[in-house]
Symmetry: C3
């Protein structure tokens, strides 16, 4: 009877139907075929990845193959790629029964998103006026990975509460929103944002949080919303790869030479500083000073998010340390206070705490970038250095650092607006009843969308006689006997 009631509550009596057998394949096929057609119409190799490169080299007086942009950026690209798939993916394996969904759906939407991003970013930034083609090379695929990051951040807020079809829809709309926002910020406002404090983190964070607010589940079952020992160790794989490779993220599309070099050093220092303040606040906030894995997995990364705009500026090494210092505190404090507050009073359920890891540090990073830009001077940068760093060339030749600072601040407002308004619209679309999202009782559970293998406990028979062989499995044996009694 109790079973039956539980059963009713859990499965039969709900309106939601998480069967995606038609919708998921349909969405995957339709969108992949659309990609193929659109790539056929629009996308070609750029001059550095085309077989005409040898002629291009000659024509442009390039003496060596090593001058191909590929060699400047490929190592950074691979690091960014690892962050997108292993970093974000494994960071989301921390839930006890949602590791498949965390790493698997991350994989799915990133693989779709990067194709879609190549197209949409191409239309806005890389369309060759001569022949109407988007010409792609190493910088485009880095940018596509960046663009995907925005949607993966949004996924973090929704982890465990949405269906893969909803995630595909979230990505379908998220990528063009990102591209338009990026176009306005980087091209119309001529803002510098190499690591995407505004463009990626602020936008992605608020996009996801707004969707989560609209999809609010008042009766969400929290029993599976937590980690186990092993899943926390898996999540550390994600954390560490994000942490280690973030210098590559912030420098991947910076200027050749000192730009990339400086962005690496600044990010490296800000990250190191975040770690210490995260450990400090985490320990300070718990009985007996016990550290919380959630803080270590996330807040240690906040420093790099906040260096996203200013990474290539002359913020100085100690400036980077200060940014990391503040962010570690702010982000850990967010996990302790702001996330519970938002859930209780603002009806925003933020599974991974993207508000603390991306949204807030992103806003802070934009502010840091604006201040650092406004404070730039020829005495610090040198004349040519100033022009190069802020790209004060062409129609921006007359712009002063102070004006630049103002535009940096304006960029932040654009990112916020796109995140919140875009998130509201996409959130309403995702509330439509046919996306196959799970019921409140089935959230955070891989059983809904995955064939989950049986657990290890179900293999005693073979262990029984093995134990004779190895002579040490007595515990397993006794366990087995108890279970059969």
């Amino acid at each position: 009877m109790g079973n039956c009631a539980a059963c009713c509550r859990g499965f039969w009596c709900r309106a939601k139907n998480p069967d995606v057998r038609i919708s998921l394949p349909a969405v995957c096929f339709v969108w992949q075929i659309a990609m193929i057609i659109l790539f056929g119409v629009f996308v070609r190799y750029d001059e550095e990845s085309d077989a005409h490169w040898s002629e291009y080299k000659l024509a442009n007086n390039i003496t060596s193959d090593i001058e191909n942009d590929f060699y400047y950026r490929y190592p950074s690209f691979q690091d960014v790629h690892v962050m997108i798939f292993v970093g974000f993916g494994f960071l989301m394996t921390f839930l006890k029964r949602y590791s498949f969904g965390g790493v698997g759906f991350n994989f799915l939407i990133a693989a779709f998103g990067l194709q879609w991003a190549l197209l949409v970013q191409g239309w806005f930034h890389f369309l060759d006026p001569a022949d109407g083609y988007i010409k792609i090379g190493i910088e485009n695929i880095i940018n596509a990975d960046f663009c995907v990051a925005g949607c993966l951040i949004a996924y973090g807020a929704l982890l465990g509460k949405v269906s893969p079809v909803q995630l595909m829809v979230l990505t379908l709309f998220g990528i063009p929103l990102f591209a338009v926002e990026e176009y306005i910020i980087l091209h119309v406002f001529h803002v510098r944002d190499a690591g995407g404090s505004m463009v990626i983190h602020t936008f992605g964070g608020y996009y996801g949080l707004t969707i989560s607010w609209i999809l609010y589940r008042p009766k969400l079952d929290k029993r599976l919303n937590g980690s186990v020992y092993q899943s926390d160790v898996f999540a550390m794989i994600g954390t560490l790869f994000l942490w280690m490779f973030w210098p590559s993220f912030n420098s991947a599309i910076s200027d050749h030479g000192d730009g990339q070099h400086r962005a690496v050093i600044n990010t490296y220092l800000a990250l190191a500083s975040s770690v210490l303040t995260t450990f400090a606040i985490s320990s300070l906030s718990a009985k007996r000073g016990k550290l919380d894995m959630v803080h270590i997995q996330n807040a240690t990364l906040a420093g790099a998010v906040a260096m996203g705009s200013a990474a290539e500026f002359m913020i100085t090494p100690y400036g980077s340390l200060i940014v990391g210092f503040c962010c570690g505190i702010l982000s850990t404090f967010g996990y302790l206070v702001i996330t519970p507050f938002m859930e209780k009073y603002m009806k925003i359920q933020d599974t991974c705490g993207v508000h603390n890891l991306h949204a807030m540090p992103g806003v802070l990073g934009a502010v840091v970038g604006a201040i650092t830009a406004a404070a730039a001077s020829e005495s610090v940068y040198g004349h040519e250095g100033l022009v190069n760093t802020f790209n004060f060339k062409g129609k921006y030749a007359e712009r002063t650092p102070a004006t630049q600072g103002g535009f940096q601040a304006a960029g932040l407002c654009v990112a916020l607006a796109f995140g919140i308004v875009g998130g509201a619209i996409v959130g309403l679309i995702l509330r439509l009843p046919f996306w196959g999202d799970p019921s409140d009782d089935n959230c955070f559970d891989d059983e809904v969308y995955w064939e989950v293998p049986e657990d290890e406990e179900s293999i005693p028979p073979i262990l029984e006689y093995n134990s004779h062989m190895v002579g040490k499995n007595t515990d397993r044996m006794s366990n087995f006997t108890v279970e059969q009694s």
Copy 2:
């Protein structure tokens, strides 16, 4: 009594003796000592890794150290290296009780194989006629890693059913087979196969499958041939590192400049496309649209295998997407239909499904390569681009793309022949009774070759009083009480 009978069945009454205490150390020592002697006789540094480089630079008018091939290829080499050891290794940890064997034996045979490959490939391709030495540099160690990949693919088909000594024998013969096959395909036929669709994947796949066919076990115990939740997450580490770094694999030994650049873009796109069709078919094939981790772990990679030959060609971005699209479908379909069919009717037990991940996509990749090569034209590549891409130089200066396409197809036949015939011979050798392979009852079980630690359940006593300290382990406590009752 029952125990005793089980015990007899399980251990005492079988003919197979998996004791490798003499044979494994003997094989390791003998072969390692042989390597040292042969390296002493044959192997030296090449001009770019020798201390005479500064003189060589001067003599060859090289102005900068950055022109050393090391800087063109080292980042790709490290990515390939990760694929070989972490990628292949962790992909094979998916079995519930064979993770040690998956990652550990992969480690052993890769470490032996790369030394042996440096020698054998050196004899065929890199022998300096002036002094009879093999001169090694960065390109050689990439090629050695490639050569090893062939044997690791073969291991995938045999996972859990062979002894480490058999694997060493498989590698001992596999490397020279690979090197001869590679010599015929790349040098005699002058075929282009940068990522090894034929040379590595087709050969490796059929080599392993043929051996598995000869070592067929009709009474194989399947209870341990499956995953558990955690082991599937471990396997995703392997999958993702393979997936992310495959662009480096296909571009590692391509031409400097546009060749490497284009190979990366093509592989990146084919992989992304594979992911979507894999998810689609996996979902379509199961009740309620549930995804199967086996498909996600493997079929998502098939697109890159099929880009192995054509990666450096002007296959166009949408061409790459189409290749990935087809491969994701084909490979997932293979897991659903072909693998069970082969096991039931053809007596081929393919533990990891290498037929679906390597053999079939490899054949498809060879066909794609042949067609793309045959369709090449000066209008697309430019004159110099065509010559560079297909290396129509020296005695091949007169070869046309159409002829090249024919040779590409011929290369596929060579790879198939070497895989199947070589596999048959090595399979027969591996059936000899003294290699220490496990009995049918002990397959897929690490207990046979590893000291497996006791399970976590056997540590209750210390948890008991800890629970007082931390005040939250009541579940563990009650668990413990039950087990003792």
Copy 3:
């Protein structure tokens, strides 16, 4: 009653108080703030990471941005970075209940150590006499990572037995000890030690072992000092990333061109050779030839440690194989015989076996380096090659290889002295009673310093009705029923 007694033993009745709620945050904050102040006073960008780079290029006739040292060293830096955080971190997750501490405290002290190292190494090696600033660039952050490695090695010997505050103190003193030792060896003695056989491994190993000896715990509870199946697989992540990227470690700060190229090849070969002899000895030493994961996780790496000094020398490929061959044997033998001996008779408890993986191979590596240096000749290196490799320039222009060999040997003595004497002093400091170290009963247990999540077994209720939905969790269900009966 029994419970009460256990409780007393376990918690109330001990003198040690592992509460770090005040001390850990205090240490983190104070030291991070100190870093910010000292960086503000001392640290600036170097000419290659400063915005004045475009002027510097012009002044120094540098034609291309690719000549920025960043492009020579950044891929190697990232590999080293992965070794420090994922390699060392995950290698230390092998304990069944100390994975959080292994990877987490590694993260903490590395993040602090690298900042401190930038300062201290800067004072000794990189102080710009013109303005008194330390100028940092890519080479400095590689060196900082190296310096941190010494302290992480020391942590390996102490794993599970010390508090995070003690580790911060260990790092606070370890970094300056390292920097002084490095200054004497590399600058005063002009010794070559690219991969740090002496400077890093010998020093770090004996530093940790001496501290462990001083902190000897006669009543150490060993129940948690062991692995479980999953934790051994996690540790293999660490092992493999160390193994794969060690060629980058030994070549990261070698000479541009052939120096880096040769260091990679030598290390790659030594590592491969180590693997085979490790498997051989491990199998030979156990009943039925069963392999031990502890050996595979550690001794396979010993070859690279022993190539630390000689990596950039013309040791020849077979010479590298021989070094790896010997080290695999020596290190595995160490785990089998020397570690138990040291614990029993010398009162040195070495959790990770750093004596076998770092200390002994480091000493061997120093000897190999001394011999190889002494045997160097112009016929092998060429005149310019000899000068470049050993940097026989300026006031060392007259030094002969034989003399160099003598200085290499002297360098080893310095490393040993600093490790042992420094370790003794720091060990005495760490014995002070206020560092929050755990009691003998609580060693190797994450519960002491971490909020450990409840185990998976404690989630049956939700599984009960899920099992209706998925129709396959019968095992879990019956399990649950038994536990409640």
